[in-house]
Amino acid sequence: MQPYLLVGLGGIAGANLRYLVSSAAASRWGTLFPYGTLVINLVGSFLLGVLLTAVTGPDGANARALLGTGFCGGFTTFSTFAFETIALAWAGDRRGAVVNALGTIGLGLAAAALGVLLGSAVARW
């Protein structure tokens, strides 16, 4: 029972925060480009990189369930990213679609790598 509770709580927090950040980004930066989703996916990938590298072993299972599977997994989204990429292309902004696709992947992987680097430093400390 316990993993589901932790995953669920983290998921609730992540999903709601994603909604708030997306809404704020849309009102601040407009809806011509999905800046909100991009920021969300970058931050979440970085955080998960830190977590999974810094918190290893069986003692960290609860933390990984709550903050990793739950929060980071619930916060970031692949489906919204994919949908918004297609939506950009169908709205006529093919360049925006390519920028979103390659930019999110490139920056997202960089963020994850940075998180892993920071996580291994934390683990050694």
């Binding site: 993993p3 589901y4 995953v7 669920g8 983290g10 998921g11 609730i12 927090a13 992540g14 999903a15 709601n16 994603r18 909604y19 997306s22 996916n41 979440g44 990938s45 955080l47 998960l48 990189g49 999974l52 369930a65 599977t69 739950g70 980071c72 997994g73 619930g74 916060f75 970031t76 989204t77 692949f78 489906s79 919204t80 990213f81 994919a82 949908f83 990429t85 297609i86 696709a101 999110t104 992947i105 997202g108 992987l109 963020a111 994850a112 790598a113 998180g115 892993v116």
Partner: protein, 175 residues
Amino acid sequence: MSTRMAEDDETDGRAALAPPLFTHPHDAIPEAELAHAPEDVPERAAAHWRARLAPYAAISAGGLLGANTRYLAGQWAARWPGPLPWGTLLINVTGSLALGFFLTLVTERFIGRAVTRLFVATGFLGAYTTFSTFGVETITLAQHHRYGAALAYVAASLVLGLAAVVAGAAAARAL
């Protein structure tokens, strides 16, 4: 009041107030309560707060289910052989398919209620799919020098994910 009519004196100034104009019986508020601010009226306050909290309730319900569905699917797929993280790949592709279908359905086919969208799209599918897990898994593959697998994983996730959105949208338009 500069001019006072004889009728006013007769009724002690308690002129009958015209009943408030309302469009629906439920909108009628007893006059005694009109003196209070809207939030002080219990039924109005309750409805007000329900409306304010409904989006978060919908997102939370969807998020709870989506995250746990992802967790379960991940557990199930963990035993599959091969270097690629099949569980996450399957989750992200099916989630993208579902989102393409659902959002096209509620924008081009049927009018969707906002709370339904928040539950299904923002809540469930947003929490079900994950970019962070995909990212860290790719970096982990690279860390283990499995660069071919990492590249294949990225390409498969991107190509299949985008194709899934298109397929889902096409299915909704075919309805």
